[in-house]
Symmetry: C2
Subunit: 419 residues, 2 copies
Amino acid sequence: MPALASGAEHQDPSIPVVAALAVMLLFAKLGGDLAVRVGQPPVLGELLVGVLLGNLTLLGFDALAGLRTDVFVDMFARVGVIILLFEVGLESTVAQMLKVGVTALLVACVGVVTPMALGYLVTRWLVPDASPWVALFVGATLTATSVGITARVLKDLEKSQTGEARVILGAAVIDDVLGLVILAVVTGLIAAADQGTHLAASAVALILVKAVGFLVGALVLGVWLSPRLFTLASRLRVRTVLLSVGLAFCFGLSWLAGVIGLAPIVGAFAAGLILEDVHYRDLRDREKHTLEELVQPISSFLVPIFFVLMGTRTDLTAFAAPGVLGFAAVLLVVAIAGKLVAGLGAVGKKLDTWAIGVGMVPRGEVGLIFAGIGHELTVQGERVVNDRLFSALVLMVIVTTMVTPPFLKLALARGAKPA
Amino acid sequence: MPALASGAEHQDPSIPVVAALAVMLLFAKLGGDLAVRVGQPPVLGELLVGVLLGNLTLLGFDALAGLRTDVFVDMFARVGVIILLFEVGLESTVAQMLKVGVTALLVACVGVVTPMALGYLVTRWLVPDASPWVALFVGATLTATSVGITARVLKDLEKSQTGEARVILGAAVIDDVLGLVILAVVTGLIAAADQGTHLAASAVALILVKAVGFLVGALVLGVWLSPRLFTLASRLRVRTVLLSVGLAFCFGLSWLAGVIGLAPIVGAFAAGLILEDVHYRDLRDREKHTLEELVQPISSFLVPIFFVLMGTRTDLTAFAAPGVLGFAAVLLVVAIAGKLVAGLGAVGKKLDTWAIGVGMVPRGEVGLIFAGIGHELTVQGERVVNDRLFSALVLMVIVTTMVTPPFLKLALARGAKPA
């Protein structure tokens, strides 16, 4: 009865999606368990289990080949990382973040300038026949910190509320803004070069104004709006108002950040910073839970989906292309060194500069996005980031992501010892 | 800088989705509040708010026009209704369901045969020039109960664990199986008629065997497997194992149901029935929460998305087509009467037959799916369900869905009075 069969498939696209979610949730826990048994944070296990699931095709097992590219799983993962940053934001307040603001700004700036300069130099040195634009773009790819991994490791180790964690998270948010500006400028410069024209300084200024405007605006307006929003919400005579309004606030700011051109996770983090217990005391008393407690199960559901999916996207065959491993190794050294140096931005603040530097290392999805854009850009008919360069950048992103959990754990454990 | 703009849009498809989620969550709570203020269950408010959001285009406001058809919002809604049925299933056990099994089977059969026969007759009577196949298909569309609405109303009123609730939910699951078989048979008959051939009885038998096999197999195997699965899971040294494994079990059975050709929600409900506190006592003690408590915030997040989305799909302009309202009114009477009669299947069991009948009334998404398939089927070049018939069926589905919450509340309140 093909009519029914096709009808049945047509009528419920959720069937393959729930299968994927079930497999990812189970394997996430298995991977997490193995990681914990060898003394690593669970997130490393989730990433590695993802690598395994994503590369089973190499062993001839194709049933999970679609996982990597499924748009619905991707969307659950995206909402998952938004929830994660919201959750991490909830653990801090705006006041606490402002206290580390200058330090975070310093760390972010050093952590953007150093890897960008180093990336430019090594590309000029190792790929001498490539145009300066290519080197510039590779440098830009090395700038933005992916806060997802670090946020998760800090949560796994229950260190989200330390001074180091606040500097890292604040710097990562500033990084994201700086990265955006750099990406916009470099992309604009390359597009102009491709057409033989120049980039208007006003366009660069506009991006900067929008980005800074969002952060300042969101924080100032949010702090004013949030208690009022929850006072209104507490008049609603339905259950689970706190969670719904909290999530709506998080999603609303994520959307706003996205519309401005920032990563939605920046908005989610800002939303978490803004919301404080005192804003919703009535609702908390009525519903017997804090927002953190209510968000936690949603996070347990969706966050591992993000990390397993990131793992599946690691194409192990990319390692095999000639020259990729060598250039990737150099990029990796530069990428790591550039961010470790960033920790020096916190010198003299009684903070562990080493832990801060390590926390800034992962490039994760932001790096992948940069590499992807470079792969689509052309100058005089040639890709700015060609296939081999792309593989090397992906490899760099993967390794910075993979090495961060164990090293960050080590760095924080060292710092925790009685000095 | 169009390169960045397009890059930014390209890189994050979550931006419009989080906006939709934020709007839907906020309006769901507002609608729920208004419903509660006039003494109705919150779900009615969520549906009506959805109708409002989905029809704002009529007032010239187009910003939310995409909500109705967004595939990602649709997927969140689908997972939402799966979570809802899982949650409802968790509140009962297999043993409790078996106790009402015979009654539920009786209720389901009466509730399938009566509306089907009545639907056939009124279509033959009111649309005399239509072929008998059309009448048969309209009859089939009236059979399947949509358990989502009823499950939600029962939860809102904290009545999920009454005998009536179990009969309704059990009957709705059996209904779904019967509806599937009928849909398969009718579709097969029509396809055969279109080609001038006959339908093989073996094909019908196969569908029946698969459906019954799934239910019996899932329950028997699940009851055996579940404690063993959780004993294994309790050895994992990571946090939130209970929720992850529970969700994986729910999604796994939903997938299995879908693969067999049943609605995934049938699998989710079965998963909920199977899982019992005693199966995961170790994990519950370690994680300090029951599975119900952990699933609840996920349900608060995703379930309102489902009901608001169902509301947005109500196209108010469909009411305007000539003849639609009249035929829809007759179908509605038949649809409601046919299911109220089903309550008589529980006569002599000390159960409230009126409440059971009302609980079976909503057709919801299952009815819409049937109507949609009929809209795509043709016999001798003509649609089995033409545009006007389709609008009438959609209207019937909407109204049965809308009237159930208030009437079910009334019926249950009446039954709760000291007799």
